[in-house]
């Protein structure tokens, strides 16, 4: 059923599907390592996406003509506005859960609702500004720079198609994942961060500034996750923003954290597996629409299986940080 060229397309698309999820899960892993379960990630990715779109839209509006676009600004402006958007979301989450010690689950879910609403509101507003008939904003002009890849890729056949045929944000996602893994396992600051998430009282007693680590990890995590939203619009969706288009990718990112047993490096292959499972229905021919939707459950089912497996093995290294989801109160007398 699978010819070679179909397989190559499948792998390529699986990776494209996996990258937004990888951004989200790397961000969430960093956050969770500080002991904070940020269920606001779907909302933050949404906000990261729309912020980038707003930045790009405003920039494109200022241009006298299509060709006057500056490649550097076309990339930098959406990138920075996306970072700003998700950073603000991260700070909001931190202020509520770290400083005010609000319940993390409630805060996270509220943030997701907020982020999606925020995205839809501004998405709809932009559509209105363009005066377009179709309910979407097309930023194809900006998108071309996000999608640009090395021209040699086309000449290298399957190899080029699988490994080289991507915009820079794909490679950035993988680099961030590996750098995060290295940071957590091999650096002193990574050790301290893990200590904060495992046992904040111990970290505090050892002279580690617990709240600073929590803030930094959560905000950096939010920024990384937000880039996933930006990648989705600018690269995967070819610069076309439509409300709700992002779908459940944010939740998939949180599922991937469990699937990757809190290791950003394992998130890389994990995201490709998730991406593949997410689109496999399109490659099974002769499937009625309603059945194909069932296939979209696969990543979640796989996650549940992993969860069962790790719970049975009870290996401590495969478990979430011990203090995940709990607020830290310094003992005061």
């Amino acid at each position: 059923m699978f010819s070679m060229s179909v397989l190559v397309t499948f792998i390529h698309q699986a990776i494209m599907q996996g990258i937004p999820i990888l951004y989200g899960s790397t961000g969430e892993i960093l956050t969770e390592k500080s002991g904070h379960l940020n269920l606001g990630i779907p909302g933050i990715m949404y906000a990261g996406g729309i912020s980038g779109v707003i930045g790009a839209f405003l920039y494109e509006e200022t241009l006298p003509s299509r060709d006057a676009i500056n490649p550097v600004l076309a990339v930098l402006i959406p990138l920075l506005s996306s970072i700003l958007g998700s950073l603000l979301m991260g700070l909001l989450y931190c202020f509520l859960t770290v400083t005010l010690r609000a319940n993390q689950n409630v805060t996270g879910l509220a943030l997701t609702t907020f982020g999606v609403g925020f995205g839809n509101f501004f998405g709809a507003s932009l559509v209105k500004l363009t005066g377009s008939e179709i309910p979407s904003v097309a930023l194809t002009n900006t998108s071309q720079f996000f999608r640009a890849y090395l021209p040699v890729a086309d000449k290298l056949g399957a190899f080029g198609q699988i490994f080289l045929n991507y915009g820079f944000m794909t490679y950035l996602a993988i680099i961030i994942a590996f750098v995060s893994a290295y940071f957590l396992r091999k650096t002193r600051k990574g050790l301290y961060l893990r200590a904060v998430g495992e046992n904040p009282a111990t970290a505090d007693a050892a002279g580690i500034n617990v709240n600073r680590y929590k803030y930094t990890a959560t905000c950096v995590g939010s920024i990384i996750a937000g880039l996933g939203g930006l990648f989705y619009v600018m690269d995967y969706a070819c610069g076309v923003w439509s409300n709700e288009g992002f779908g459940d990718r944010g939740w998939l990112a949180i599922a991937l954290v469990i699937f990757a047993v809190w290791r950003p490096d394992l998130g890389v292959p994990g995201s490709i597996v998730f991406g593949g499972l997410y689109i496999v229905n399109q490659f099974v021919t002769g499937l009625p629409m309603r059945d194909s939707e069932l296939f979209k459950m696969l990543p979640y089912i796989v996650t549940i299986i992993v969860l069962i497996f790790t719970s049975i093995r009870k290996k401590r290294e495969l478990q979430p940080p011990e203090h995940l989801g709990l607020s830290y109160f310094r003992e005061e007398r």
Binding site: K186, T187, R188, L191, Y192, R194, A195, E198, N199, A201, T202, A203, A205, A206, G207, I208, R316, E317, Q319, E322, R333
Partner: protein, 515 residues
């Protein structure tokens, strides 16, 4: 020796928490190359005193000198600067980290080199004779290994004044011996060591000098070689204070609960109860004395059916049916139905038995919800009961619908004890019912217990204050490391006698040897 100033000296140190004086005018000297034991009962202020040296608290009055120079220790960081290291009773370790990772936590900004740190840890281990694999994960370690990590942690940070807060409380005798060998080696290396303990034989075994605290006050310091157990006990427990608690003669006491040779094991295979036997009689208050953690909680839970016993019997003479049943065959619910009631007041008061966010009525229902047969809750009976407890025990509360956590400690305890009493128990077990209460509230609880006794209930009272136990109880059972070291008559018992039973190990053999 006297020419060089003490490594650390305290002069007139006083610390108050609100109205409670935790330490009053304490003087203390520790020299390099010696082990000083700090001896005192629970709540005598040993840990508070050490927390002031290690920077957790700041003294209200008094001075601290290090090597003769006056210092201010305002934070643990300051203490670390003066090379003071404290090993707490509760370990502060990250479970999934290795020993080395825990040891280097929070220090140094230099290059992160785990291998180098590991070899340094190994070096320290060898120097003092610790047995520790630097790369072993904490979750794989025994309690004694975890303690070793804590000690190496402070040594790694360069501490030369070490404070150990009841280090042997969690250790087996063999592990204790090993620890003492290490401590001696550190002493010979020129370190000043303070060890907090309430175990007399350990004081005699390890220390060079002993300082005794009693109820926050500094009593005296003596050379270990020139003292003995009975002198130390007397210094520790002090003279008897009269409290004037009423005590009626038991009326027609009958054996209600017969505990025979029960044993149970805690985590890591430590024996929490070791061959415990006694009889609780109706119309009598049986006191249980002992250092905290000597098996009191386990004993009560065993009777209530909440512990897995490794042996023994708990026989209950049911006054209703005149039959004898073994409670070990019964579920906790069945035991409760038989009239054996437990009210345990934990250190945080709301930890066991009451739900803080629920009101008094709902907390009553936690015990009675099984009685309902309809799908909906019957709140009328519990409401009446709650109101009765509020009236009878003078619980100060805006109403029965006030969440329990808003009540003051004494009132919470009244609700807790009142709920158990309301079920007309045959055996009432009250653990620390006056913990944290002021004097008037305490007397109210004593009167409650006395009333139960007059109604023919077998009352078991676990207490902390020896003066109270001696005046309230008809008989006092002394627990020491899970063993019964004696059952004495409350009317004739001497405080020192009970103190000795509580603190001394191998009581039977040694005391006989001493005549």
């Amino acid at each position: 020796m006297n020419a060089t100033p003490a490594a650390i000296a305290l002069r007139g140190v006083t610390k108050k928490f609100g109205h409670v004086v935790a330490n009053k005018n304490v003087d203390l000297d520790v020299r390099r190359g010696e082990i000083l034991a700090i001896l005192g009962e629970n709540g005598s202020g040993k840990t508070t005193l050490m927390n002031m040296i290690s920077g957790i608290y700041y003294p209200d009055e008094g001075q601290i000198f290090i090597d003769g120079a006056e210092v201010m220790i305002r934070s643990p960081k300051d203490a670390f600067h003066y090379k003071i290291g404290m090993i707490h009773q509760h370990f502060k370790l990250v479970d999934i980290f290795s020993a080395t990772e825990n040891i280097i936590l929070g220090i140094g900004d230099g290059k992160y080199n785990l291998k180098a740190a590991e070899s340094q840890v190994r070096e320290i281990s060898e120097r003092y004779g610790f047995v520790l694999a630097p790369d072993k994960k904490i979750y794989d370690m025994s309690v004694s290994e975890k303690q070793t990590v804590e000690i190496i942690k402070v040594l790694y940070r360069g501490a030369d004044i070490l404070i150990l807060d009841e280090p042997t409380a969690v250790l087996t005798p063999q592990e204790t011996d090993k620890l003492f060998q290490v401590l001696r080696r550190m002493r010979d290396d020129g370190k000043a060591i303070i060890i907090i303990t309430h175990k007399l034989h350990e004081v005699l075994a390890i220390s060079d000098r002993v300082s005794v605290l009693r109820k926050g006050e500094y009593i005296a310091t003596v050379n270990t070689a020139e003292t003995n157990e009975s002198e130390l006990t007397e210094m520790m427990v002090g003279k008897k204070i009269s409290l004037n608690i009423e005590r009626s003669e038991p009326k027609a006491p009958q054996d209600r609960l017969i505990v025979k040779n029960i044993s149970c094991e805690g985590v890591m295979g430590r024996k929490m109860l070791d061959d415990v036997s006694f009889t609780a009689r109706s119309g009598e208050i049986l006191g249980i004395a002992g250092i905290a953690g000597s098996g009191q909680k386990e004993l009560l839970e065993a009777i209530a059916g909440l512990q897995n016993l490794s042996g023994g019997d708990i026989l209950y003479n049911d006054p209703k049916t005149m039959q004898t049943v073994d409670l070990r065959d019964k579920s906790p619910t069945e035991i409760r139905e038989l009239g054996v009631r437990l009210s345990f007041v934990p250190e945080d008061r709301l930890g066991m038995g009451l739900v803080g966010n629920m009101d008094i009525i709902d907390n009553m229902m936690l015990r009675s919800y099984r009685r309902g047969h309809s799908m909906f809750l019957n709140r009328k009976d519990p409401r009446d009961l709650a109101q009765r407890i509020i009236d009878d025990l003078e619980v100060i509360t805006p109403g029965a619908t006030t969440p329990v956590r808003r009540l003051s400690g004494g009132n919470v305890q009244k609700v807790l004890v009142g709920r158990e009493i309301s079920s007309h128990p045959k055996v009432l077990m009250a653990a620390y019912p006056v913990r944290g209460l002021d004097i008037n509230s305490s007397y109210l609880i004593y009167n409650l217990l006395n009333k139960q006794k007059e109604h023919g209930v077998a009352v078991i009272f676990v207490g902390e204050d020896l003066d109270v136990l001696i005046e309230l109880c008809d008989r006092i059972l002394v627990l020491n490391s899970g063993k019964v070291t004696g059952i004495v008559d409350g009317r004739t018992a001497k405080k020192e006698e009970i103190g000795l039973l509580m603190t001394k190990t191998d009581y039977g053999t040694e005391v006989q040897a001493n005549g």
